[in-house]
């Protein structure tokens, strides 16, 4: 059947077109991630902080000075009580083995919990600072654990990842970014 519309009948197409546009907008919306809040700290110098080591371990604590002149560093905010942290941990171990420098901010954790946790799962961190009040994490704009940051040789935050790192993130974002930043 051939559809022939009179000129004024084109008006009737408006609701159809409006619906199509709305459906397209909602379709796009399904794939947006509103839980990932863009950080204003990207390309800014990392906040200045000084964290003490976890009692009972000799990780040396962590301060802003440890992020300068050390090449590209992956800063990982983690806690033993955080289940997704456990999920991403093997990947951190693997990255550390590949030579990526990883430092940890231990968020609101108890030494008696995190010491056995690291003993059980292994330690990918070259330094760990203990943020028992969560104030340093707030300075980094952290709103949930785990979060990871890529800091360049000058101590500037270049990338933020919210939530556990997955194989896909490491392959498509983290490793390529480290390679570019190291140039």
């Amino acid at each position: 059947m051939r559809l022939r519309l009179r000129r004024y009948q084109i008006v009737f197409l408006i609701p159809v077109i409006a619906f199509a546009l709305l459906a397209a907008a909602f379709g796009v919306g399904l794939y947006l991630r509103p839980d990932i809040i863009p950080s204003p700290l990207i390309n800014q110098e990392a906040p200045s902080f000084a964290l003490k080591p976890i009692p009972g371990r000799d990780d040396g604590g962590l301060s802003s000075g440890d992020l300068k002149g050390q090449g590209v560093t992956l800063v990982n905010v983690f806690a033993s009580w955080c289940v997704p942290c456990r999920a991403e941990h093997p990947l951190l171990m693997q990255l550390a083995k590949q030579g990526v420098r990883i430092v940890g901010i231990n968020y609101k954790d108890k030494p008696q919990d995190v010491v056995p946790w690291l003993a059980e799962l292994g330690n990918p961190f070259s330094r760990i600072g203990r943020d028992d009040t969560g104030r340093t994490a707030i300075d980094w704009g952290v709103y949930g654990v785990p979060e990871s940051f890529l800091v360049d040789n000058d101590g500037r935050i270049r990338h933020k990842h919210v939530g556990p790192l997955m194989d896909h993130d490491v392959k498509t974002t983290i490793l390529p970014m480290i390679r570019t930043l190291e140039k």
């Binding site: 950080s39 204003p40 609101k108 969560g134 704009g141």
Partner: protein, 167 residues
């Protein structure tokens, strides 16, 4: 009678038990500042700040740990003599404008702030244009002679429902 009383008692117990725990959980007594004026400012500010964990609650309403931390931090800064603007700047420097429940007017949010008014104006403009065009068309029709008009009506009679009456 006893049954009615029992139901009443149950309702009272429910409202009494549920309401206070819900409303009193977010802001804890130990967070409240001694100075009532400062506390009032703190509450006003925290009502306009987004809890980043729950996203659609203010930190004043939220039970999230981070909301509590931010409430305490905000009060510390006010007690240390920060202005409201300084507190807001402190938080937006860390969490971005997203932390504000009322988005500021910036080029990025123009569509949000002015979009509805712009759509209204475009719609009104469209209606005005349409009406004007219709009037012009009617005027053209009036310029026809009676003879021409009868001819036209005869031609259009079965083809276009708008001209069924032959006008």
């Amino acid at each position: 009678m006893t049954r009615r009383l029992a139901i009443l008692a149950l309702l009272l117990a429910l409202t009494g038990a549920v309401a206070p725990t819900n409303s009193a959980r977010a802001l804890q007594p130990d967070e409240v500042l001694a100075d009532p004026a400062l506390e009032a400012r703190a509450r006003d500010l925290s009502k306009g700040l987004r809890c980043l964990v729950c996203q659609n609650q203010s930190i004043d309403d939220s039970d999230a740990d981070l909301a509590r931390d931010l409430r305490i931090l905000l009060r510390e800064r006010l007690a240390a003599g920060d202005s409201d603007a300084q507190v807001i700047a402190f938080l937006t420097a860390r969490y971005g404008d997203f932390v504000l429940l009322k988005p500021p007017v910036t080029p990025v949010t123009w569509a949000l702030w002015f979009g509805p008014a712009a759509l209204l104006l475009i719609g009104a403009g469209g209606i005005v244009l349409g009406l004007r065009r219709r009037k012009a068309a009617d005027a053209e029709l009036d310029a026809l002679t009676d003879d021409e008009r009868a001819q036209l009506a005869a031609l259009l009679k079965d083809r276009d429902p708008r001209h069924k009456d032959g006008a």
